[in-house]
């Protein structure tokens, strides 16, 4: 059984790497990681200078109580704060495309019609696909981890402590789990949808709901505010409407749980928390991610079992 699953996953891995679109996505992801460090570093330097200039201006106007410089004490990993937004907004969308093309490629080429004439079960086939997607995403995330690690050392000249490496590693493992959820979502709809375009657009609609609509309902943050990792920390309104919605929805909001966990690990907001404490505090969020992943894997296997191998050409 595992031999067959392994050969499907190897084939999936190779097929994705042969696709031009996939290479383009990979380049985007690598650029995102490089940009994330550069923008974080450049902004940190600029805000430091802006702070100094503001202090001079305040002293000139006779102000004696100067607010503290919180940027100076910010943990070094906070330079990577943009990576949280890139993963939850851009990475997850790219993961949907990877999951979508993984099965849609076979459907269009007619492979899904003939592959089961061989001695491979549908369950083995889909598990092989999921492992192939996992390997690809794990490779992308590993490249991203290495780039982040090296680029931070290069721009700051600050060697990482053991604790910082662990935090960065956990951040990328959690990010990988988040991406896999969306990749399997894309895969699920590529199997179950009758139309090629609907198979791509429905998971994108779900992505919009998870990334923008749920956070807006729980914290009244507009979509553009969510693009800034600092603005995400803004306090939610205190009315009964938002309190009730927050209590009901927030525990099930994947993106908010991921953002909270990511912000704590990278020390966004100049707070350096203990790693174990962060994991304990966010255990509900981690469980939610694992449960979503399990649910989607089961859903994909189920829809694969129901998949009509005799289907005519897929609709555009």
């Amino acid at each position: 059984m595992w031999k067959k699953i392994w050969s499907v996953s190897i084939n999936e891995f190779r097929a994705l790497f042969k696709e031009k679109t996939f290479i383009l996505l990979l380049i985007i992801f690598i650029l995102m990681t490089i940009f994330s460090t550069y923008i974080g570093w450049s902004t940190k330097n600029t805000i430091e200078k802006v702070y100094q200039e503001t202090v001079i201006k305040l002293k000139e106007s006779g102000v004696s109580e100067i607010p503290l410089d919180t940027f100076l004490i910010a943990p070094v990993l906070s330079i990577l704060k943009n990576m949280i937004v890139y993963i939850f907004l851009i990475g997850s969308l790219l993961a949907i495309i990877i999951g979508h093309s993984s099965f849609m490629r076979d459907r269009i080429a007619g492979i899904s019609k003939i592959v089961f004439s061989r001695t491979i079960s549908r369950k083995e086939f889909i598990i092989g696909k999921i492992i192939g997607i996992f390997n690809v995403l794990a490779l992308i995330i590993s490249v991203s981890f290495i780039i982040s690690y090296v680029s931070i050392i290069l721009v700051t000249g600050h060697p990482f402590s053991g604790n910082e490496i662990v935090k960065l590693l956990i951040f990328y493992v959690i990010s990988l789990a988040y991406l896999i959820i969306f990749a399997i979502l894309g895969l699920f709809f590529a199997i179950s949808s009758r139309s090629e375009s609907l198979a791509l657009v429905i998971p994108i609609i779900i992505w919009i709901v998870i990334s923008f609509v749920l956070p807006q309902l729980t914290s009244a943050l507009n979509p553009s505010t969510l693009l800034n990792p600092v603005s995400i920390q803004q306090a939610a309104p205190h009315s009964r409407f938002f309190t009730v919605i927050q209590e009901v929805i927030k525990p099930f909001s994947l993106s908010e749980n991921y953002k909270e966990l990511g912000s704590n690990l990278l020390g966004v907001g100049s707070v350096d928390k203990n790693t174990m404490q962060i994991l304990i505090d966010n255990s509900a969020g981690i469980l939610l991610m694992l449960a979503s992943m399990g649910f989607l894997i089961y859903g994909s296997i189920f829809s694969m079992k129901k998949f009509d191998v005799c289907e005519e050409e897929i609709d555009e």
């Binding site: 996505l25 600029t46 969308l93 269009i108 791509l200 609609i205 507009n222 553009s224 600092v230 409407f241």
Partner: protein, 328 residues
């Protein structure tokens, strides 16, 4: 000329009928309308929460005998509650444009009707214009539904009936939204014509959408020094606008680079234009249109330029008949 007009009308009518039957289009439109409603409802409740907070603060100050320190009551500017609507049009409206453009070409490619039409005495400009007009009707229809929803929710939940100037501003927001959505329509049609694989065309289009709608605005926003602290850096330092401008005058290169990054995206121009009209950008709140367009005309020109560029690129690709006849 009359013949050309009737050809355009026939193509436009066909486009309209085909698209309005599409499940994909209807799904997206329903989703956009739901989001517009959710967004305004959330804004209204947010405002009600601000008023409640204000009232409780007033009560505390009065109980403490500090009636002279009571701040002014927060004011509800109905058009400012449209921020979420504008941002959802930036995201979902653009996707609707992409899907319409994709469907418009995928139907033709699937049935090989484009080759057939091109073999008849029909001008390329007529095909492009017909498709553009047919889909324009659809987009305007969707936006009209959005406009009515906004108007009635502000009236029903916010309890405010918009005055004539506000209605004109609301109409302008939806008119500029039309231009913005049609840019993505032209972009998507162009890519669907250009690429041999429709699936790849759709994915590339989503990547461009990602760059324009999310990546570029994100970079610009996170580089803004004022956005480094929740609530604003300068506010946290207790300095006024004049002092802030004096400080930032020393960082012109940084600010110019940041602005240049933002200006490369049609989404940012669309956003700036509409934030000015609705008064979301404080400087323009309650100002007349002449004052607003004195500053914002450049953004309008940019939105138009993006649309025209995509339109003419689509024309150029369709003119390359070899690409069309060998493209599927």
């Amino acid at each position: 000329m009359n013949n050309s007009k009737s050809i355009i009308a026939v193509i436009a009518r066909k486009e309209y009928r085909d698209s309005i039957k599409s499940k994909l289009f209807l799904t997206l439109v329903s989703f956009l309308i739901v989001l517009i409603v959710v967004s305004i409802v959330v804004s209204s409740f947010d405002f009600k929460s601000q008023v409640a907070d204000y009232k409780s603060s007033v009560k505390i100050l009065e109980d403490m005998g500090k009636s002279s320190e009571i701040p002014s009551m927060p004011q509800f500017f109905p058009l400012k509650s449209m921020r979420g609507v504008i941002e959802y049009i930036e995201i979902i409206g653009a996707i609707i444009g992409i899907i319409l453009g994709y469907l418009s070409i995928s139907r033709e490619k699937g049935k090989r009707t484009l080759q057939l039409v091109l073999s008849r005495p029909v001008r390329i400009a007529d095909i492009i214009t017909g498709k553009f007009i047919g889909n324009s009707f659809l987009v305007l229809l969707v936006l009209l539904a959005g406009l009515f929803s906004t108007f009635f929710i502000i009236w029903g939940i916010g309890g405010l009936l918009l005055n004539l100037i506000e209605v004109v501003k609301l109409l302008l927001v939806f008119l500029f939204s039309y231009l913005y959505i049609m840019f993505f329509f032209c972009l998507s049609s162009m890519l669907s014509l250009w690429f041999k694989s429709l699936s790849n065309a759709l994915i590339i289009c989503f990547i461009i959408w990602l760059i324009f709608v999310l990546i570029i605005p994100q970079i610009g926003d996170t580089m803004d020094p004022d956005n480094q602290i929740p609530g604003g850096f300068f506010k946290s330092m207790n300095i006024d606008k004049v002092q802030e401008e004096e400080v930032m005058a020393k960082f012109t290169t940084y600010e110019t680079t940041r602005n240049a990054i933002e200006e490369s995206s049609i989404t940012k121009h669309y956003e700036r234009l509409n934030f000015a009209i609705t008064g979301i950008k404080e400087k323009y709140n309650g100002k007349d249109l002449r004052f607003i367009f004195k500053d914002s005309w450049k953004d309008l020109v940019w939105v138009f330029s993006f649309l025209l560029a995509a339109y003419f690129m689509e024309y150029a690709i369709l003119s390359n008949k070899r690409l069309i006849f060998n493209g599927d």
